[in-house]
Symmetry: C2
Subunit: 739 residues, 2 copies
């Protein structure tokens, strides 16, 4: 059935919101399938990572490698990226390829990098000074590859929010200008001095900069103190300034960023959903049949099954039948357009299939497992008190960890706790079916087991090597011990809700992580070129006299040196990143900046730091906060989507639901409430049960769609706004005829 | 007409959302009217202010007064409050009075204060040490007086948000505990030292406190530096900590506070609107007439007019007729229940009445005013270029202010600028009708005129007293000069939108101001008792050796003394407040706290500071941010209420709208776009014009109702939830029969 086969890629695309225009000949489809193969993607990201990590080995390096070595690796990376791009060009239609700005971007980046490498290599060969300026382009590849969809979307929403942010920023700068002028007139002529004796508030530029820093609160009482010491009333000036600029303007920034972020994201999601529905409608067009004369066209269960098997080969038959029974609610053997279009969303709802199997011990020695003591044990383990006893043990353990481990009794108690934890896991494995206990979604079971086993191994290694004890292993043991305590949070319901929300927004936070890394990388590259080697860190043990002033006489006696900030430098990519984190946190950036990098280079160095503050703190962090806020509001305000509800209702109807018939199940209820019951509780359960994996989403797109679902009309089949795809109800891609 | 007269108080109540149960006999109504008289309210707030300001004169005082003097004033205040309370008790029904917790609160506060004063007076008379502990109760009066409605609501929404905040806070503390334990295990045994040589991260309590401070970012790189200097990888620990606790948890706090704040406020507003509608329905019951057999009961224009005249005596006839024509849309001479109930909301829409009058000069010497040069002048002044020229002048002025005023040319240029500004005002007064120019809502006209006239007066005084020039007057001149520059913002439309939103949320910000003052006052009183006199500030000129360590040998050599923080103390109420502002800004609180107040008192002093941080920064500031966010979203997302739209449509229909027929009017368009045109532009305008005062709200309640309007059904006349008022459709208050 080639129609089903041809349908396959757009189907997968609809599920994952990919919008790719591609050829539909069988070999083209194979090429496309290959392009989307997970292994190739992993390979791409691996080389992306290698390319980015080259900064560790290039001058200024953490671990220096000769130039030829890094160059060689970089050329390899470039080669991989080029092959990937060519592959993409083969998959996609030619004019689509050239119209797509991200392909042009990749080509430009690759070309510029190559040019830069040649120039740099030539300069180095001739022993001239060269700058590897193309390194700032590296993270941009992350944004422009086809897979960087989420990241591109984040960048787009930033770009869209920029005009609004710009106006507020201008007003904010105007406010700083006015306040600076006032400060100059009020305080400049009074002959006040800073602590270090320099004149206070006499230069307009200095005042502006000081007041900008005050907005971040980094120099909070210090900048005010000389004026406040001179007169009470000057404090009022600073308080009004802080109220207006720190509290009101910063809230307005958040409001503006939040507002436009939401607005544009909503629009994007709406377009994506439209495109997805359009693809589904096209698929429907291919698969549809006219069952009765003049009736609505429908898709039969047979072709539907074939399609789903192709799209998700590893979906169990039972699961597929369940989905069908949701789509074909009235059991007619065929579904209409509306029900068919839902398929992509249905596939995105994660359903946990639980096979109700007898415990292996029951098969092995049924008489023993069914005996009275064994049953009593099962009841004990499933009792609420069992969980409470172990919570108590964890708390006692916490106290013991806090105590001094020099005491031999406390050191030995660790073995007792380890034994208790292992006993707990063994008991649970005795009571619950192991495959259920270690099912994919049993987060806390996996967490517990891995932590306990690792702690056991590490503790054994540590005590074996007691006499030549390694600090690293000890550290790992300590961390594992402490991590174990987190388990206690899971038994308190109120906490579980908050933690689940946090875990749920995890994938979206990763997108912001990528975003931050792109920005950090660019700033780190620029910062390294500007400030490398200006500040040197000497080990604690060093007796070098230069240690007192971070190896730079200009820093002698400055706060930077006094506060021992020498390691906050741009001497390699790792310390640059850590310094940028410190700058993101904002505190003391004034000190680092002023006393530090401006002293060793030039006063204009502060432009770099202010720019970083504007981009990262005012724009990106606000978007991050906006996202967390939005995700929490969604969690608090809405429960489940209509589709999820109808799926759940269907599961209930079919009596296949995983019931919460047991205290223990409740108590052990994890993120996904996925643990099936034991045999002892209700022996005559259906052999297969389903459970919706609560409100977790398979993809970030699904989460976004959920956030803005209230504004999307499920019956809205309007065509994609893109004029090129409009009016192509049938499958045949008109672009294909060009190829 | 006594029915109308009796109706009066509930009417006013409905407009301002007061919920008071009162007697309805004529003398009782008079008493109630007196109670609500503005003069008595002003008097109450004046004595409230006096009572609060006593802290300035009481030990530890800014300006010390003998105990008997402050005691006498306080007794006077208590007397006033008692009289006011008795007045209220007379107005309200007795059982209602005793059931209201705020009355009980006031009685308790007054009694406790009296008891404390007697004890304190006796102790002082016997020369014993006494603490005026009842001073912390003073700001609570602000919350509990009948007029403190907004403030009470703010406190209620905080109280309602507390359970949610509490769970997140517990989780947050748990996270700090876990990280502290990890830090102790990882870093405690390495023999690292802080800059001052003390051991690093060895005490569990110290680590917890340091990590709590790190959440506020106040000790950001410093707390990490010793570990980071020892090993690269420890920075990862701190970065993970900051990511989880500073960024994620702080966002979650904002989300939780925002969410519950919104939820409960919405519920409160809904109940208020219900109560208001209920009152209006009761009023309708009194005024209704049956016009035709079996028809709906209606209120005639005559009784409606009488009612409105009683409620708002100073409403112009034309305005009243306009409101009637909105209510009686079909011109039937009577209105039904739905239209009648809207009246309270209609009265809350601020309408600007503009009388189109000829310019006084036109009446005085019409030939001159109508002459060709005069008309040309009018056209010139109204031209867009005129505004641009003055914007340019302002900018040039800004540059001149920034320059050194020692230069005589620049000093004299001030006179030129002043003359130019005065000329501008005179020209505008020549062109526009003065009463229109100085109408109530012409914010920027008033702003300009006041600033320019004050600057003129101050500059003249300053130059007259040139030889014995007073610094204070010069300061005022400088500030006025700089403030003049703000005018330029108004000519840029984009900025105007943002500024208007900010001005609109102003009244609500004032509620937060009160809230903050209540909390600050309590902390200041406690802080003064705990820390007064521990740190002394010496003037710059002082030669006292104790100056180097703030008069406390314990501070010798500490950062607190080195950074010259001596004036950050609790020695009087003013410096306490300034210190609390610094603590709110959070930066350096670690330094102030550790090196400062913990050194001079006890390590447990930090509890005071952490408590302040939790209450003010985590709870109250987040509510403030939530409010600003919500207000901005409302401004961005919705435009005008339905009622406003229908009112505006009616104004348009009646051709009484203030048209924007002129460039100048556009350019001079102020917050309320309220400036009428000049005679020269369109001579045949109606003599009276209306304009809705855009989106400003008369009361905070109206703004809140606006925010949550989308969720309120205008046809919802459900009874108040309070069972005592349920089912009283007729006016006769059943409670009245008890009296």
């Amino acid at each position: 059935d080639t129609s089903g086969r041809n349908e396959l890629p757009p189907k997968g695309d609809a599920q994952y919101n990919r919008n790719v225009y591609f050829d539909t000949l069988p070999q083209a489809v194979r090429l496309y399938m290959l392009y989307n193969h997970w292994a190739l993607k992993v390979l791409l990201y691996f080389f992306m990572l290698v390319n980015l990590s080259l900064a560790i080995f290039e001058d200024p390096a953490v671990y220096p490698l000769p130039i030829w070595a890094t160059m060689l690796v970089e050329i390899l990376c470039l080669l991989i990226f080029t092959i990937r791009l060519i592959h993409y060009a083969k998959v996609i239609l030619r004019d689509k390829f050239w119209k797509d700005p991200k392909n042009i971007c990749i080509i430009v980046i690759l070309t510029l990098t190559l040019v830069d490498m040649i120039i740099y290599g030539a300069l180095k060969a001739a022993n001239y000074y060269g700058v590897r300026w193309s390194r700032v382009l590296r993270p941009l590849l992350l944004v422009n590859v086809t897979e960087g969809r989420q990241l591109r979307r984040a960048f787009r929403s930033i770009r869209n929010a920029l005009p609004q942010i710009f106006y507020v920023f201008m007003l904010f700068m105007f406010s700083i200008l006015i306040f600076s002028l006032m400060a100059l007139k009020l305080l400049g002529k009074r002959g006040l001095t800073n602590i270090n004796g320099t004149p206070y508030f006499t230069s307009y530029l200095e005042i502006m900069f000081d007041l900008y820093v005050l907005v971040t609160t980094a120099n909070s009482p210090d900048v005010m103190m000389p004026a406040y010491n001179a007169n009470f009333f000057f404090a009022v000036f600073f308080i009004v300034y802080i109220l207006i600029n720190t509290y009101i303007f910063m809230s307005v920034f958040l409001a503006v960023v939040y507002n436009s972020y939401k607005k544009y994201l909503k629009e994007e999601v709406r377009q994506l959903v439209r495109a997805k529905r359009h693809k589904m409608v096209r698929a429907f067009g291919v698969l549809q049949e006219q069952r009765e004369e003049g009736g609505e066209p429908v898709v039969t269960q047979a072709s539907w099954n074939q399609l789903v098997r192709l799209v998700q080969p590893n979906l169990s038959n039972a699961h597929r039948e369940l989905l069908w029974s949701v789509s074909d609610d009235k059991n007619q053997g065929a579904i209409g357009k509306v029900a068919f279009v839902q398929l992509a969303d249905l596939l995105n709802i994660e359903i946990i299939t639980i096979k109700s199997r007898p415990h292996p011990l029951q098969s092995l020695c049924p008489s023993l497992y069914q005996s009275a003591p064994s049953k009593l044990l099962c009841q004990l383990v499933q009792h609420r008190a069992f969980v409470m006893v172990y919570d108590l043990i964890i708390l006692v353990n916490a106290v013991f960890i806090g105590l001094d481990e020099e005491n031999p009794m406390i050191a030995n108690s660790e073995w007792v706790f380890l034994a208790l934890y292992i006993l707990e896991i063994l008991l649970k494995l005795y009571v619950f079916e192991p495959r259920v206990f270690f099912s994919k979604h049993s987060f806390w079971n996996w967490f517990d087991t891995i932590i306990v086993i690792s702690a056991l191994i590490a503790t054994i290694i540590n005590s074996v090597m007691n006499h030549f004890s390694s600090r690293q292993i000890l550290d790992i043991v300590f961390i594992l011990r402490v991590l174990r305590l987190i388990r206690v949070v899971d038994s308190i319901k109120r906490f579980r809700i908050i933690i689940n929300t946090l875990i749920r927004i995890g994938p979206a936070i990763l997108t912001f992580g990528q975003l931050i890394i792109v920005v950090y990388y660019i700033f780190a590259m620029v910062g390294m070129e500007l400030f490398k080697g200006k500040v040197t860190f000497y080990e604690q043990s060093s007796t070098n006299l230069a240690k007192a002033y971070c190896g730079n006489p200009l820093l002698n006696g400055t706060d930077f040196a006094k506060l021992n900030y020498c390691k906050n430098n741009f001497n390699n990519v790792v310390s640059s990143f850590i310094l940028l984190v410190e700058l993101t946190v904002v505190n003391q950036w004034h000190d680092i900046l002023y006393s530090g990098f401006a002293t060793v280079t030039h006063i204009s160095a502060r432009i770099f730091f202010v720019l970083f503050h504007i981009i990262v703190v005012i724009v990106i962090l606000n978007i991050f906060v906006a996202f967390v806020l939005e995700a929490f509001f969604v969690e608090y305000s809405v429960d489940k989507s209509d589709l999820q509800t109808s799926l759940e209702r269907k599961i209930e109807e079919l009596e296949l639901a995983v019931a919460q018939y047991d205290n223990l199940v409740n108590a052990m209820e994890t993120i996904d409430n996925d643990l099936g019951g034991s045999q002892s509780a209700k022996p005559n359960l259906p052999s297969l049960m389903f459970k919706i994996a609560s409100k977790r989403y398979r993809t970030v797109d699904a989460l976004l769609q959920r956030i803005f679902e209230a504004d999307l009309d499920p019956e809205d089949f309007a065509e994609n706004d893109d004029p090129e795809t409009q009016g192509n109800e049938n499958f045949a891609n008109p672009l294909f005829s060009h190829a």
